[in-house]
Every structure is written in structure tokens, then in C-alpha cells.
């Protein structure tokens, strides 16, 4: 218990640190959020990257910045009071690697979006009516010539009445 109290005292004695970090993290999150709301997909990915960096810093901050490196020398007795919190470090290490995986995935998705739609403008992508998106998709990835024009119409009608659309689907299936 004395170790715990000491660790806390170390952290509590420096209110400046947490205040400075809180402001910095707040600003980083704000910049990240602003980027996430942009139209350019690449900027959205940047925003997510900044937010995840800031989250990692936040986790480390929560463990307390004081304390020595959590690597013990030969035969050294471990004292939790003087060692930096290894738990958050282990957490963040995992988070960094997973963040890398998601960033890479998001980038490749961006690339694929550009390949499929010829644009990475989210506003432009959103404005396209669903039919265009569907047919563009089927045109390039699936068997385009086989695509039934009626299938698209049915999918459109589906929003009006469940009964009608399912009857329609059944009809198409029978054809």
C-alpha cells in the first residue's frame, strides 16, 4: 500500500503536467475530428491516425509519466512505486500495432474506392444515387452483361413495400 501511495503522490504533486497534457490532447483530438469531417478520404484517414496517436498518448498519461523504465536489471528487486506503469505500456503497444493495421487497411480501401468510383470526394460519392453505385459495381466486378436490369428496379421498389418487392423478387427468380 505504501508503494501505491508513493506512486500517487508522485503524480499528484504535479498538477501542471496533467493540465498541459489535457490541453494538448484536447487540441490533437479537435484537429483529428476536424480532419475526419473533411470530404477528402485521405484527410479522413489522417484524422483517424491523429486521433489514435492522441488516444495512445492519453493512455500512457493515465499510467502516470513518473517512474523509471519498466526494465529491471539483473537480480533487482521490483518496487511498483518507482517503476512506470507497465500495464498501460503493454496496452498501448498492442494499440499501436493494431492502429497500423487499420491505417493500412483504410488506405487500401481509399485506393479501392478511387479505382471503383474514380473519385475520393466523399460528398461526390454520397450524392450518387444507389442504382448507379450498384450498377457501377456489378459492371466492373461481377458478370456485367448477365446483370439483370430488373434486379436493380426491384431493389429500388423494395423501399416502398416489403410485400411487393418480395413478390417481385420471386418473379425474377422464376424467370
Amino acid at each position: 500500500m505504501s508503494a501505491l501511495a508513493a506512486a500517487l503522490a508522485l503524480q499528484q504533486s504535479e498538477p501542471n503536467t496533467q493540465f498541459v497534457l489535457a490541453v494538448v490532447l484536447g487540441l490533437l483530438f479537435a484537429i483529428g475530428t476536424f480532419l475526419v469531417l473533411r470530404r477528402d478520404v485521405v484527410r479522413v484517414v489522417w484524422g483517424i491516425t491523429i486521433i489514435s496517436q492522441a488516444t495512445n498518448m492519453y493512455l500512457v498519461t493515465m499510467g502516470g509519466l513518473a517512474g523509471s523504465v519498466p526494465i529491471l536489471g539483473h537480480g533487482e528487486a521490483a518496487d511498483p512505486a518507482t517503476v512506470a506503469n507497465p500495464l498501460v505500456q503493454a496496452l498501448v503497444l498492442t494499440a499501436i500495432v493494431i492502429g497500423f493495421g487499420t491505417t493500412a487497411f483504410a488506405l487500401v480501401l481509399t485506393y479501392r474506392v478511387y479505382e471503383e468510383h474514380g473519385t475520393i470526394d466523399l460528398a461526390e460519392l454520397g450524392e450518387n444515387p444507389p442504382e448507379t453505385g450498384v450498377s457501377a459495381n456489378t459492371g466492373s466486378t461481377m458478370d456485367g452483361p448477365e446483370a439483370d436490369p430488373e434486379a436493380v428496379t426491384t431493389a429500388d421498389g423494395g423501399s416502398q413495400s416489403g410485400t411487393d418487392s418480395s413478390a417481385g423478387t420471386a418473379g425474377v427468380g422464376d424467370d
Binding site: 496533467q18 484527410r43 492522441a54 492519453y58 529491471l72 539483473h74 499501436i96 493495421g101
Partner: protein
Amino acid sequence: MRGDLKTIKRASLRSHGVQPEPAVLFAVLALPFVGAALTPLVYRVLGERTAYFAAAVATACLALVLTQYGTHGTVSVEWIPQLGVNLVLYMDGLAFLVALLASGVGVLVFTYSGGYMHGEPGQDKYYTTLLVFMGAMLGVALAADLVALFVFWELTSVSSFLLIGHYQREASSIYASRKSMLITVAGGLFMLVGFLFLHDVTGSFALFDSGASQGIITNAEMVREELSAQGLLLPVVALVALGAATKSAQVPFHIWLPNAMEAPTPVSAFLHSATMVKAGVYLVGRFRPLFVPEEVYIAEVWTPLLVGLGLLTMTVAAMLAVSATDIKELLAYSTASHLGLIVAGFGFAVSYGGEAGAFHILNHASFKAALFLVAGIVAHEAGTRDIGSLSGLRDDLPITAAIATVACLSMAGIPPFNGFFSKELLFEAAWETGAHFGGLWYLVPAVAVFGSVFTFLYSIKFLSLFYGDRPDGLGEVHSPPLAMVAPAAVLGLAVVVISLVPNLAIEYVAGLAYEGVAPGDAHSFTVPWPIPTEVTPYALMSLVTIVLGAALFPFYDRLHGAIGRARRFPYTSPNAYYDGGLAALERASGFVPAYVQTRMFRTYAASTLLAVCALALGGYLVAGTPIPPFGGLDSLTLLGVVGGIPLLVILLVALFGAAAVGIADSHVAGVLTLSILGFMVAIFYVLASAPDLALTQLVIETLVLLIFLLVLDKLPTWYGDLEVREAIPDAIVAGVVGVTVTLTVLVTTSAQPSQNIASFFVENAPIPGEHDPVLIDAGGGGNIVNVILVDFRAFDTLGEITVVAMAALAVLTLVGMRNRGEDV
């Protein structure tokens, strides 16, 4: 499961009867579900003969249920002992009757299906669902806990939904299954609210005393007083009745039942006449001892509500049955009508009411299931279900005609068939109640007679399909297979047996069920056989019914037409409200995409982020979390920061990097400034005594920079100009997020959480002193973070590697497969 069974303990109940065998009850419940799980496999081997596998499962259940005949009590197995949740089953006469019907009619229906479903599609799904339904129905019958009762209750609704929608491409099947689902599940939810009220008042979900827990029904008197005191008696009765009314197709919720006839006929016979719709009346019966005190003529709230509901349904549904043009439609309305009779019976506080309900559950199941199977045979062999074009089937279907005759006379309530006796008991209850209060209360027996006249009419109409002249339009009528006739014959025989010895049926089955629905200590009852010999008011009521019915029968077609015309009058049918309400809902949901699903990522992201912020800030506000005070600018000295000036410099550079990303005017500039942030974060980790993080961050940051540059090479250098119209609201959202994060960091870092986990790792990661000389030179345990990752939390690391591997696979697919897909 085997381990659990060891902890089964028995508990005694109010009665002294023989205790049920726990293992048997749990086996009864488990068997259908195990059978259902196996059915898809069995179907691969047996094909259409899966029907007989399912029938064997049902037979096993029936046999197990029969071994528990006459037992009475609860069995429980610990489920989640930490939360005091047990799976409690209960067996008494009422549970036995419903379980008997579920498994007994199940055997017949599965056998019948073997003939009826010949050549039909989706048989594996059909038998699986039907077995699941049977298990759920047995669960409803045996559950002694409100939670378990509700779960099984809804499971029957779901399986009914699937079975009604068996022909899943037919628009009418889809309409019917959705209708039944919406109505019965919505009713079930109201019932759940009623259960929660009960739980709120009693603090218990248990219906009966079991072990240490007090049962709701066992302590009926106390619960009823408490409910009255809190003014919850009416809400609870109304909510439970709503659940029962939707399930048992009581007016005005009867509209789903005729549509449910879209299901294959065996399903109609099983679910929509003999068992599932009985769940509602079972519920009413089960709760009757709770709400009906002993020795009274009227139970507060309960009697007016349920007798009104039951008699209304009995009359209206019987009139609708007269206007039916399809034999299954006629039977559907007739079912609703007879369920109304049972509900009304249970509603009466006089003992005859409970007797009528309990006995009619048995009688109705016998004659109505028989008639459904008969209807299935007629539709299957004659190829039509139209009442107008069917007649004189006696010569083509002699056995079926005999079964139909017995069942129809019983349905009509003609002595000495069994339907007569239970209806007579209802008349007795109605008369006793009416005569006791006098005045307007005489309407009760009058309405009962009025409704019964229509019952008589449609029963005889159904019977007339088999007699009279054979119309020319009717094509060749085939002889039905044995698998279809035999189950119908068994049910017909059951009608005959109960009709011949009604008092034995009462003594051995219905009377025991009556004990379950009667308050206090009840004893069995008898009926006068073969016909009442004394002139009593209720005997006269029966006489009037039959005479009036016989007198009106010649005018059947006129009545049929008149009711049909009345039904076409707009807004008389609840159907119009159902359809209108559904259409309005569909229109309303049409608006959702315009406002919620805007197809703009910006909208989704902003609403999600703002919602999270609102939740977090609201949480702090509600919880009254103190925000750590800021010491004022005076105390903000550079030297006061842990890490001192280097940390501040690093943080400032990181912020500038991030800000530069925000205003970068090209993709490349943005990526490079993003790396500034990344590398500053690495140095931050160094200052925070986290060398492993710093190393990882450096490697990852380098990799990310490379991937960004590689991908950017393929992307356009397009850059959306910053529009002020968008930028200002976005800046506000960003500001809100920033403030929330700042507050959160302040709140969380000032908290003083237990450091036990961290301390544990610090103390346990290193190699123990005594092994030092041997191991430390070979592989050290000094790096605590490493030890956590590869030892204490190795599975987390495995998960992390899996995520990266999946991302890699996805990247590979997205980049590589596109062109390959085109080649194919």
C-alpha cells in the same frame, strides 16, 4: 449438463402429490431441441421419412410426459447461482394437460406431415422448426419462472412465424407471417411489462415456491393485496390479458389467425388450433388462482375483463366463421371462437368457469385438430378449399366423413359429444354469475347462447360438406394415404372416447388441470352423462341453442351473405387498422433515409462523435464528477512539469505537426507533417519511460509513411477546397470534442485507481531470485512490458497478430483480386 443435473434439488409445493422426477422433466424439455439440431443431418440420410424421426422424438416426449402423470411440484437446477437465477420447472394437472397436447398432437401431426408434405420444398427446415416449436411449447407448459415462461412464449411466436412463412416466396405467406409475428410478439412484450410489474411488487420471478424462494401464485392472497394497495391490479391483469389475447387470437387481435392458415395444414392443426394458441388460455388459466379469490362470484378486474373479452370473441368469431368461404378460414375463426369460450370460462370466478375452461382445452384440442386434419385431407385430395364447391364427399372419403361427423357434432355442442359437456359447464358458470347479480348481468348467459347458436350453424355447415349431392364441378377425389387418415382417426377416436366416458376423462385429466386453475384446494367434478336429466336453466340454454340453430340453418346462406356484406363496411374490421397502421409506418420509415441515412460520411461521423461527447459530458454532470481545479496561471511554471522543458517542446512540435496536417495544401505535405507528429509521439514515449513503445512507434511510423506515399502515388492530387459553410460547423464539432477530451483527461488522470494490476505485473514479471543465475543469462524476464505481452497476456498478443494478419489479407484481396475477378 450432466454436472448440472447433479445439483438438481427438489422442492415441495402446496399440494402433497408425488414429486415429478427432475431428470425426466429436463429431458422432456431438451429432447425436442436436440432432435431439431439433428434434423438437418437426419434429413440428408432419411429424406422425406424425417417425418417419422420427428414423430419418434415426439413419441419419446409423450412417453416421458406420461410417466410424470399425477405428479405435482417444482424441480429446479441452478443456472446462474451468483445472480440467484434458477431454471425451475413445474408440473401439475394443467401443465400436464398442455404438455400432453403438445407432445401427443405432435406425434400425430408429424406422422400426418409424412403424407401431407410429400414432395414439398424445404422439409428439413419445416421439421426443424416444428420440433423447436414443440420444445418451446413444452417449455411454456412446464416453466415455473416468469423469465423462462416469457422466453419460451416468444420462442413459440418465432417458430410460428417461420412456419406460417413456410412458402417463403408467396406474398400472402409473407403478409401472414409478418402479421402474426407483429401481433403476437407485441402482445408478448406487453405481457413482459406485466411480469416486470409483478416482479417489482413481489421481488420474485418464481411462480411457485421452490427451495428458499417464494412463489407468486403460491402466495396469491398477499400478492393480490399488495397489487391492489399499489394500484397495479388493473395494469397487471390488463397487460397479462393482452399477452394472452394476442396469442389466443381474441377479438380484436383475432385477425392474424385466419391469415396464419397460409401455413401447411399440419401446422395449422398443431400450432393454430391445438397448442400454440392454447398458450394464451394456458396463461390465463395459470394466473387464475392469482387473481381469483376463493368463494366469490366475481373477481375484481379479472372477471369483467376476461369474461367480456371471451364472450365477445366467442360471438364475433363465430359470426365471422359463418361468413367464411374457405374451410380453413372457417376453422380458424371457429378456433378463435372456442378460445374465447375458454377465456370466458377462466374469467368466471365461480368454479364451473374453471371447470369449463380446463375441460374445453382438452375437448377443443381433440375435435379441432381432427377437423384441421380432415380439412387438410379434403384440400389435398379434392384440390379445393372453397366451401361453395365442396359437397357430398361422403362417398369418396368415407373414413374422413365419419371422423368429420363426430368432430363436427362435438364442435356444435350436441349431446352426448364431448364439446357439449364443456359448453354446458360454461353455460352453468354464465347462468350462476348472471342469476347471482341479476339485472343486466343476465346479458352474460344471453350472449353465451347467442354466440353458441352461430357455433352450431358453422359446425353443421362444415358437416354438410360431406353429405348431400356431389356437385358436378368437383373433379376426381383421391383416396388419402394412411399416414394422413390414421392421425385424424386417432383424434376422432379420442373425441368418441371422451364422449363415451366424459367423467373418466375429467377424473384422470381435465379435473387435475382444473386443480391447477382453481384457487385454494379444489376437487374434481363430474358432468351428467349422456344428457342432463334435470330441467335446469343451463340445460334449457343448451336446448335453446340447438333449437335456434336448427331453425336458422335453412337460412344459412342469407346469414352468410348478410355478415359478409357487414364485413365489407369500411372500418369495421381491425384488419383495416392493422394495414393502415403498417402503411403509415412504412411511409414514416421512408423519411428516415432523408434525414438519418444521408450517405454523407460527415453526417455519420459528426453525429456519432457528438453523441459520444453528449453521453460523456452528461455522465459527468449527472454523476457530479468534480473537475480538478486549475491552479491558476501562476502555478503553471515550466519546471513544474514532469519531464520539464523537453516534454513541453515535444508536445508543442507535435501540436504544430498536427496543425500543419490540418492546413496542408497537398497530400504529400500532409503525410510528411503527419510523420512529424508520429515521431514526436515516439519521443514522448521516451520521456514517459516507455522505451518499448518508442521503438514500436518509430518502426510503425516509418512503415505508415511508406504506405501512405505508395498509395498517394496512385491517388489523384485532388484537394477539396475548404468551404467556410462546412468549416465553421465542423470547427464547432471539433471544439466540442476537444473540450470533452480535455475534461476527460483531467478527470481520469486525477482519479486514484487501484494500482493492483500494475503492481502485480511489476512484482511477478521478473524471474524469481533463486533461478537468477541459471536463467537470466539465457533469456531474461527483466522487461516487464515484454513479459506481459508474451506471457501474462499472450492471448491478447495472439489476437493482435490475428488482426494484423486479417488486415494484410484484406489489403491483399482489395489490391490484388480486383483484376483477377475481371479475368474470370
